[in-house]
């Protein structure tokens, strides 16, 4: 296609003038239309990380057990016994807003491919979701579509979805977030990477045929939304989980031969980015014959074939002479495999159409000379006013029973069973800890071990203080892992922000990354993979900064796993930790008073580390009957959850001595607090163990009876049948969605 390259065409491709100048100097000539398209997707925010790369470089990525850090398709961590955990989180925000079912479904498909392309069998998924306010007219439709999409795809491929998050807030009205985490397990000596090696080796295309799906999809994900985005609608891809399932099985079978040298999925920017990235890693070139690319429709141009984001496709570099063998494995699974090119030694990305070279670009320059921006950043002016707000000014509620019921019956604090019941979470028969606890635990067959996984981020805290919020997301994730009995090992981060061209947004991102960094160093959890999603902004209104953290930990003996719910009557309840808290940034202040303001209670990373270490020691001694992180909703909500989130429901008699406002005592939020239950006989061991680590423990009361009763400084403040609380909690989402 020889469309003329005008200023308009360049602008349509989202390339700036200076970027175009760079293209001219790389090529030493004008690019043709197809080449322009290639640069446009490869240099889009989505593929090049041009606004974030500089800052991502500051994240800690190393530990003795890290096998592959960022840069590969997914992070790889050694978990012992000859196994590695392979994991990553990725966003599919914009596509899910436009077409929630297919957007979310293909999001699941994409992250699965990132994991099995490394040679790992995907064993679990988590979905971290943010929607607009419940009253927004589109919210219900989006929730329904996104959850069905994840369910439709994940269930069909047979990978359990074992947990996640769901948070509603007006800042997501025009930009929802759909972040999906995938965990895979592989043998340590059987890891594959996306590398293009050995001049003359064949390049094989496998999987679905290429259609006109999602052309410019990558560019769309990097462009701010406006009214015109309606027109970009046909760029949405449709997923085929059945083909994905076949692709997983065929790839894992093909990897058992030693015929594969490198393999990579075709994700954003499809064939172009997969082949360029593979050649880039190998320091080689790649030549493909566009006429050989399997296609779904007639009349497709090289431009379309190279930029299409059709799903369920992979690119393989094989050993010469072994291509038939591989193609036959794919054929057995009903999939197409075609040799479409070869590895070259000239360092060029070359595309040939009907015998003529139509694209020729130096591979190294596409990635190395990709623009990197050090965008200006500035602390938002509004932060002072927000942080200086005095939360003591708000009126205290009169009826704490009603306040508790209202909070626990809200969409953010209500039970998420409506969501995870639609996900097959027991397939593969390895889900030791089911969704509904702080972290879920997946057994590693053939060992005594389990892998604990969770995803966390409180965007409200990130909005009020992005540095603290970022650090808190890491701390909460690690704390949730520890509560389940796992030792936190490593994280993946999915950084969702607004428009990076705004200095305030840039500042939020820099601060959040700094917070993540500090927390990862302090807690010993390096970042091994991640994803950045920017321009989550509609008509100038951006989302709350949302650096979602996915974390994994190792449970040495799955028999010692701990869940968040109380196991019987007469258990003693303890609050572990310093009990620092504030109303600022709390769910209570937002839901009851409509305020999202104030100075949040800070995180002390040293305390956090000691708290988790001591908790894991107590779990190892098998004295902890239940452990539940005290996060959104504060102390009263956490105790209520402990009482009712298991198969059986228990009442409790709790008595708290504390000063300050009662609403802060009950619903204030702070870090490094955990509610545990133990047997009476273990009380001394517990108190001594935490004391030895410099962590406070306070006795709260006993489980039993039919009421949740909370006395504050000897005044009965809450007394409510636990079944009534449970009903409000259980019906929150079903009644909203009905």
């Amino acid at each position: 296609m020889n469309k003329e390259i005008t200023k308009e065409v360049i602008a349509e491709h989202g390339l700036s003038e200076s970027e175009y100048e760079m293209i001219l100097s790389i090529l030493g000539r004008e690019p043709n239309f197809t080449e322009l398209g290639i640069f446009s997707v490869m240099w889009s925010e989505h593929c090049s990380y041009k606004s974030s790369r500089k800052h991502l470089g500051t994240l800690p990525t190393k530990a003795p057990y890290v096998v592959h850090g960022p840069g590969e398709n997914a992070g790889v961590v050694d978990i012992g016994d000859g196994f590695v955990a392979v994991f990553k989180m990725e966003s599919h925000n914009h596509p899910s807003f436009i077409e929630p079912y297919e957007g979310a479904a293909t999001g699941v498909g994409g992250i699965l491919r990132d994991v099995f392309t490394m040679g790992a069998r995907p064993v679990a998924l988590l979905d971290s979701l943010r929607f607009g306010s419940p009253e927004h007219p589109r919210t219900k439709y989006l929730v329904d579509g996104v959850v069905s999409g994840i369910s439709g795809y994940g269930n069909c491929v047979g990978v359990p979805t074992v947990g996640g998050e769901m948070f509603f807030n007006g800042s997501y009205d025009g930009n929802i977030l759909v972040n999906v985490f995938c965990l895979g397990i592989a043998k340590k000596d059987k890891i594959f990477t996306g590398i293009c090696e050995g001049v003359g080796n064949p390049v094989i295309y496998v999987g679905s045929k290429t259609g006109r799906d999602g052309i410019h999809g990558a560019t769309m994900a990097s462009g701010e939304f406006d009214e015109k985005s309606e027109e970009k609608r046909p760029t949405v891809q449709v997923g085929d989980p059945f083909t994905e399932k076949l692709l997983i099985e065929a790839c894992l079978e093909a990897m058992k031969s030693d015929a594969i040298l490198g393999i990579q999925d075709m994700g954003a920017a499809g064939l172009t980015s997969s082949s360029c990235e593979m050649a880039g890693r190998g320091g080689t070139g790649i030549e493909m014959n566009i006429d050989d690319i399997p296609r779904r429709e007639e009349g497709m141009t090289a431009y379309e074939l190279l930029l299409s984001e059709s799903q369920e496709r992979m690119l393989i570099v094989a050993k010469r002479g072994r291509e038939e063998e591989l193609i036959n494995i794919y054929k057995k699974w009903g999939l197409e495999g075609v040799v479409v090119g070869k590895v070259t030694g000239d360092g060029l990305f070359r595309i040939v159409e009907k015998g003529e070279t139509v694209v020729e670009i130096p591979v190294a320059d596409i990635s190395n000379k990709a623009p990197i921006y050090d965008r200006p950043s500035k602390r938002p002016a509004y932060l002072d006013a927000l942080q200086n707000f005095d939360t003591d000014k708000v009126a205290e509620p009169k009826d704490y029973n009603q306040t508790l019921l209202k909070l626990i019956g809200s969409l953010n604090l209500g039970s998420k069973e409506w969501v995870y019941q639609q996900y097959d979470h027991t397939i593969r028969t390895d889900t030791v800890t089911l969704p509904g606890s702080d972290a879920s635990v997946i057994r590693v067959k053939g060992t005594k071990k389990g892998i604990a996984i969770t995803s966390d981020c409180n965007p409200r805290l990130c909005y009020l203080d992005p540095y603290m919020g970022g650090a808190m997301a890491v701390a909460e994730a690690a704390r949730n892992i520890a509560c389940s009995g796992g030792k936190p090992m490593a994280i993946t981060d999915n950084l969702n922000f607004g428009n990076p061209e705004k200095p305030e947004v840039m500042w939020q991102m820099k601060e959040a990354i700094r917070g993540i960094s500090d927390a990862c160093v302090a807690l010993g959890t390096p970042v091994v993979s991640g994803n950045v999603s920017l321009y989550n902004e509609t008509n100038g209104i951006g989302i709350y900064p949302t650096p979602t953290i996915g974390a994994i930990g190792v449970v040495e003996d799955i028999k010692k796993c701990v869940t968040q719910y109380i196991k019987g009557e007469g258990e003693l309840l303890f609050l572990i930790g310093s009990n620092k808290k504030s109303l600022a940034g709390s769910e209570y202040l937002s839901l009851i008073h409509g305020l999202e303001k104030g100075t949040i209670s800070p995180l002390d990373l040293d305390t956090e580390k000691r708290l988790q270490t001591a908790l894991l020691a107590a779990i190892d001694k098998e004295i902890i009957r239940s452990a539940h992180d005290c996060s959104e909703g504060g102390l009263a909500i956490t105790i209520a959850e402990s009482c009712m989130s298991g198969d059986k429901t228990f009442g409790a008699e709790v008595s708290i001595e504390d000063d300050g406002r009662i609403d802060n005592i009950l619903f204030g939020e702070g870090q490094s607090r955990i509610i545990v239950s133990i047997l009476d006989k273990d009380r001394n061991i517990l108190e001594e163990l935490f004391l030895a680590n410099g962590i406070e423990t306070s006795y709260l009361g006993k489980t039993g009876g039919v009421n949740l009763s909370i006395r504050v400084n000897n005044n009965q403040t809450i007394s409510c049948p636990i079944e009534q609380i449970k009903k409000a909690w259980a019906e929150a989402i079903p009644s909203y969605m009905a």
């Binding site: 269930n155 069909c156 491929v157 047979g158 059945f242 083909t243 399932k245 027991t426 028969t429 028999k559």
Partner: protein, 229 residues
């Protein structure tokens, strides 16, 4: 004894069934590939759950016309035990080995949760090890599990003791409230006329080890082993 586990494109509980009979129960197990099904040496078959052919068109419809089903039908005719679980049940229905059909769950959503099942007949090839156990708990995970058959067929199933499992509550009561998917008569599992083919929506292979739930599922496979020996 040797279990054959039939693998269709899109089957995804095949490995779980294999693990259940091979590693938990210590029996022989072999995967049977749909395209060249060789049932030689198999004493019993498991048609596992999943989304054969993506469940496109109708769940189980495309698997039901595959070459494997010709062999499975003959295997059933010879009197050997066959259990179809979830998608496997749907395949047995679509192929006519079992009567009736499956439609979408009443609320249209996929449901994954533990269910209690009342055992209606302790005397079959699949329940002979239950002794007087009348209630078990197994997980379900499906979107099309609402069993349908016309009134005459239902009468026949009831009359011949071929309804094996019904969705119940933890006391064993069967009612509308304990029906997760809209199945007629709360049916969760049925037998063929000869009593050697069982179709059930709940997943016994997921309840084999207490660390990941309970061990109620073992009883079903152990009954099959008993029936064969």
């Amino acid at each position: 004894m040797k279990f054959g586990i039939v693998v269709f494109p899109g089957s995804n509980c095949d490995h779980d069934c294999y693990h259940a009979v091979k590693h938990v129960l210590g029996q022989e197990a072999a995967f049977i590939w749909h395209a060249n099904p060789d049932l030689n040496g198999c004493d019993a078959l498991i048609v596992p759950g999943g989304f054969s052919y993506g469940d496109y068109l109708r769940a189980g419809a495309m698997a039901a016309i595959s070459p494997a089903l010709t062999e499975i039908k003959a295997f059933v005719k010879r009197g050997n035990p066959v259990i179809g679980i979830c998608n496997g049940f749907q395949i047995l229905l679509e192929s006519g080995i079992l009567p009736g059909a499956m439609i979408r769950n009443k609320d249209l959503r996929f449901i994954c949760k533990d269910t209690f099942l009342r055992v209606e007949n302790n005397n079959s090839k699949f329940t002979n090890k239950f002794n007087d156990k009348k209630l078990i708990s197994l997980p379900i995970a499906h979107a099309e599990g609402s069993y349908y058959a016309d009134a005459e067929e239902l009468k026949r199933l009831e009359g011949e003791g071929r309804v094996l499992f019904r969705y119940a509550d933890k006391e064993g009561n069967v009612s509308n409230d304990t029906n997760p998917n809209g199945s007629l008569l709360n049916i969760a599992g049925i037998l063929n006329k000869e009593g050697n083919a069982l179709g059930m929506m709940p997943h016994p292979e997921r309840s084999m080890e207490s660390i990941v739930g309970n061990e109620d599922g073992r009883l079903i496979f152990e009954s099959m082993i008993e029936a064969v020996s």
